[in-house]
């Protein structure tokens, strides 16, 4: 009839932590990649405009090449045309040089803009959500089938009291990676308003006391970094692949760099 969380439990995932990694460096990188591609487009589009003169030069050169075969041409005319060619070549080289400098500068400026705007967006998100890392990637399967590895969670940290059933991200003392699990027990103090919270992964057999620091029975407010409010599937795989296989990251960056460098027609 129903599927109990306990029945869904597979193998020995008791005490498995649903950890996540910060999305920050990767979101910036992804934005960079997108922006780089767009940048290339913008540049190539710009080049079409400035290409008028370039194409012109090429055309004249070609015209000369074919006209050289004509024996009927007078020497004077030829000399004048050669001078023109030299002029054209110089002109072309000059225009390419100036174009290159302008391109490099434009690229550098727009790259800087992209990086800074990505940072601004990130910091603004941090301010709005009140959470240190507003977007996190799920790394393990202790919340399956709700959250799978590679899903993205949007966190929000508000002043609202923590209640049972909420999915919270918490940091345990002496543990590097924060954990995303569901609250199953809450005891809120009458006088101070402090809370004692117990969590459990939906796909784990037992509660999280095994994951807590030695002898710790409850989580307090200060352990909790945020609660999950939104969900996006699969997108986090980009991050996971890039952290676990750095080669792919370097290949990607290298390829994009090459694209930028060689995108001069």
């Amino acid at each position: 009839m129903y599927m109990s969380a306990r029945d869904k439990n597979k193998k020995s995932n008791n005490g498995r932590a649903s950890s996540y990694s910060s999305w920050q460096p990767h979101i910036i990188m992804a934005l960079n990649i997108v922006a780089l591609i767009r940048n290339i487009n913008v540049l190539t589009l710009k080049r079409v405009k400035s290409k008028g003169e370039l194409r012109f030069g090429v055309e004249v050169k070609l015209g000369l090449g074919s006209s050289n075969h004509r024996l009927l041409r007078s020497a004077l005319k030829r000399r004048r045309e050669e001078a023109t060619t030299m002029g054209w070549i110089g002109e072309t080289v000059d225009s390419i040089k100036s174009l290159q400098i302008r391109q490099v500068l434009t690229q550098a400026v727009s790259l800087g803009m992209i990086v800074t705007s990505a940072l601004i967006i990130w910091k603004a998100l941090m301010c709005i959500t009140g959470s240190e890392s507003p977007v996190v990637v799920v790394l393990s399967g202790s919340m399956e089938p709700g959250f799978k590895r590679g899903d993205i969670l949007f966190l929000h940290m508000s002043k609202d009291p923590i209640r049972a059933g909420e999915i919270v991200v918490f940091n345990v003392d002496g543990r590097e990676i924060p954990i995303v699990h569901r609250v199953i027990k809450v005891h809120e103090r009458e006088d101070t308003g402090e809370v004692d919270v117990l969590t459990k992964g939906d796909n784990n057999y037992g509660d999280d006391r095994l994951l807590y620091a030695h002898g710790q029975l409850w989580l307090q407010r200060h352990h909790i970094m945020g609660r999950a409010v939104g969900f996006l599937p699969y997108v986090g795989w980009v991050t996971i692949i890039m952290t676990e296989k750095p080669i792919i990251k370097y290949i990607l960056i290298g390829a994009l760099g090459l694209l930028v460098i060689t995108s001069k027609d």
Partner: protein, 125 residues
């Protein structure tokens, strides 16, 4: 003779086909569209994707199936890709006409109108 022909014909077909394929591939993926074609391709891409998105969302909502929405949209993206990314002859109906070099010689470039010639003067001495 006849038997020989029969034997060789498939070979010729294959040869000519492969050459045709290569040229066709080059035409499809390497050459650029003409200006009208670019505009058409861009508009076609946007209109098709939007139309498929609307269809996908509507059918997904009506059939209460998220998967259906994703499948229809994915199909739409594939179709749009096939239609707008290769350089179909369809996009090259308005080729740019370049002046022949001998033609260009008979009709010299209008000197004052181009900025390039003006800029060129100091180089020429």
């Amino acid at each position: 003779m006849n038997s020989c022909d029969l034997l060789t014909t498939p070979h010729y077909i294959f040869k000519s086909l492969s050459a045709f394929n290569i040229i066709f591939f080059l035409l499809l993926f390497c050459l650029q569209m003409d200006w009208q074609g670019q505009k058409l391709a861009e508009q076609l891409m946007q209109i098709m994707l939007l139309a498929f998105a609307v269809i996908a969302f509507a059918s997904g909502y009506v059939m209460a199936s998220f998967q259906m929405m994703i499948l229809i949209y994915a199909g739409g993206v594939v179709l749009t890709t096939l239609l707008t990314i290769p350089n179909w002859p369809f996009f090259n109906r308005h080729p740019l006409v370049w002046l022949d070099s001998s033609e260009a010689e008979k009709h010299p470039k209008p000197q004052p109108s181009s900025n390039v010639t003006q800029k060129k003067k100091p180089v020429k001495k």
